[in-house]
Amino acid sequence: MRTAELLRPSRWLPTAVAAAVVLGAWQLVATSTTAVLPTLGSIWSAFTGNAGTLFANAGDTLEEALPGLAGSYVVAVLLAVVMSQSRMLTRALLPLAIALNVSPVIAFAPPLTVFLGLGQMPRVVLAAIITFFPSLINAIVGLASADRGAVEVFETLHASRWETLWRLRLPASLPYLFAAARISAPLSIVGATVAEMVLGGVNVGLGRQIQTWSSYAELNLAWAGIAVLAFFGLLITGIVVALESWVLKARGFR
C-alpha cells in the first residue's frame, strides 16, 4: 500500500469519524457522571504529567511481551514443521496444544510463580503461552497451504520430503506466518499485562501500575496507562502489517 493511497480521505475519513464519535461519547459520559469515566482532558494531563513513568513501565511490559512472543513463535513454527512431517506426531501433539488453548491460561500464572519466582520471568512465560496457539495453528495451516498442482509437480519429480518442505511448503506458508505474527504480536502485550495484574511480583510494568493506580482511585493515570498500552499494541501490529505487505509483495504473493 502506497503512502499516497493512505492519504486519500476515503481511506482515513471513516476511521477518523468513528474515533471522533467514540471520543465524543466518552466525553459526554465523563462530563455528566464523573464517577464512571474521567474526562479526556484530565486523562491527557495525567499523561503529560507522568509520561516518563508511563513509558518506562510500558518498556518493562514490552520487555516481557516481546521475548515471550518471539520464543513462542519460534517454537510454534518449528513444532508445526515437525508436525507437517509426521501424522503420528500431529496426532500426539495437536490435542495437547488444543487442550492448552481451551484451558484458562491465566490460572497457570500462580503455579508458574512458584518455580519462576516473582520477577518478570513468569510474565514472559505467560505471554508465550497465550500467543502460542494462534501461531501454531496458522503455521500448520500455512504448511498445508501449498498449491495442489505444485505439490503434484514435486511428487512426480520424486522430490524428497526435505526438498518439498524447504522448496515448497515452507516458502508457501509465508502469508500464514505473517498472519500468525499479526495476531500474536498484540496478544503478547495482553498476556504480559494480565500476568502482571494477576501475579503481582516485582513492581514494574504498566499492568502492575494500572492495578496500583486503580486501587488508589488514580483513574486518570490508570486510563492514561491503558491508552499507552493500546498505543504500543497498535504500533507493533502496524509494524507487522507494514512488514507483511512489503515482504509478501517482494516474494510475489501480491
Binding site: 498449491d147 495442489r148 498442482g149 505444485a150 503434484e152 509437480v153 514435486f154 511428487e155 512426480t156 519429480l157 520424486h158 522430490a159 524428497s160 526438498e163 518439498t164 522448496r167 515448497l168 516458502p171 508457501a172 509465508l174 516474494r251 510475489g252 504473493f253 501480491r254
Partner: protein
C-alpha cells in the same frame, strides 16, 4: 479420415528386450471412490507407443485427471496394472521420467520465471537426467523478456508457457498434461498449443494430454481416445501430417477430422448413457 491406433514411433531410448519398455501400458485399471455410483476408471486398458502424442478427451468428471494421476503414480489403482516404459509409475518418477503440467500453472510465486523453470533440475538430483538449457527453453517459448519476472506479473498465457517450459526442462520421457490450456482464452490457447507442438516436434517425448476441446485434440494428437464415466472408447488416429503449421485449423482436412471426432464423442456418450 480417422484410422485405427497408429503404430509406434520408436525412439532408441528404451532398453530393448524388456517387455513394454517402449510403451505406456494400462491393463484393466480400475479406480473407485466411495461416494461415486460408478468407478472413476472402469477396466481401462490402453497401450501408447513411445513418442506418441496421445490425447484423452471427455466431459467433466469422466475420469481424465484420475487417469493421469494413476499414470503418474500419485494415485494407486484398486486393480489392474500400470507400466511406464516397462516400469511401475513410482519407479519412473524416481528416475525423473515424468513431466507434469497441471490444470493451473502451479508456479511458485516467489520464484522468477527462470527459477521456476530450473526447479526440476534442483530437486531429486540423484536421478540423472539430461537437463536442457533453461534459457534456450524460454527463448523457444517467447519468454526471454520475462526471464526475471515473478509469476504474479505474468498473463495467464505466459504462466502456462512457463509451466510447459518447466515440464520440458529435464527432458522427461513421458509428459502428462491435464487440461493445461483450460483457463486460457481461445486465441491464447491456439498460440500456446502451437508453441507446445513445436517444442514437442523437436524431441518427440511421449505425451498424454487431457482436454475438453475437440479442436485442440485434433491439432495436437497422433491418437485420441474418448473417455466417459470412467470408460475409455477405442482410440482413433489423427491422419494429419506433421509438422502442423499455424493456420492448419482452417484447412478442409482439419474440419473433417474435428467433425468426425465430434460424432465419435456423441456416439461414445450415447453408448455410455452419459
Amino acid at each position: 479420415m480417422l484410422r485405427a491406433t497408429s503404430g509406434p514411433r520408436d525412439r532408441l531410448l528404451s532398453a530393448p528386450g524388456t517387455p513394454g519398455a517402449d510403451c505406456i501400458v494400462l491393463d484393466g485399471v480400475t479406480k473407485r471412490f466411495d461416494a461415486m455410483a460408478w468407478p472413476a476408471l472402469d477396466e481401462v486398458s490402453l497401450s501408447i507407443p513411445q513418442g506418441q502424442f496421445f490425447t484423452v478427451i471427455g466431459p467433466s468428471g469422466a475420469g481424465k485427471s484420475t487417469l493421469l494421476r494413476v499414470l503418474a503414480g500419485i494415485s494407486r489403482p484398486d486393480s489392474g496394472r500400470v507400466s511406464v516404459f516397462g516400469e511401475p509409475p513410482e519407479q519412473a518418477s524416481r528416475a525423473k521420467h515424468l513431466g507434469w503440467v497441471p490444470q493451473s500453472p502451479a508456479l511458485l510465486p516467489w520464484r522468477s520465471v527462470i527459477d521456476n523453470v530450473r526447479l526440476p533440475l534442483q530437486v531429486n538430483r540423484g536421478a540423472k537426467c539430461e537437463a536442457r538449457d533453461p534459457e534456450e527453453l524460454l527463448a523457444r517459448l517467447n519468454l526471454s523478456h520475462a526471464r526475471d519476472m515473478l509469476p504474479a506479473h505474468l498473463s495467464g498465457g505466459m504462466r502456462q508457457r512457463v509451466a510447459i517450459a518447466r515440464a520440458f526442462a529435464f527432458r522427461p520421457r513421458l509428459l502428462l498434461m491435464d487440461e493445461p490450456f483450460g483457463a486460457l482464452d481461445e486465441m491464447t490457447r491456439e498460440h500456446v498449443a502451437h508453441l507446445l507442438l513445436e517444442l514437442w516436434q523437436a524431441e518427440k517425448p511421449t505425451v498424454i494430454f487431457v482436454t475438453h476441446s475437440v479442436g485442440e485434440a485434433v491439432l495436437l494428437s497422433d491418437t485420441v481416445a474418448v473417455i466417459g464415466r470412467g470408460r475409455l472408447s477405442p482410440s482413433v488416429g489423427i491422419d494429419l501430417g506433421r509438422p502442423r503449421p499455424e493456420g492448419i485449423e482452417d484447412s478442409q482436412g482439419f474440419h473433417q477430422l474435428t467433425a468426425s471426432l465430434r460424432a465419435q464423442l456423441r456416439r461414445a456418450f450415447s453408448d455410455a448413457g452419459g
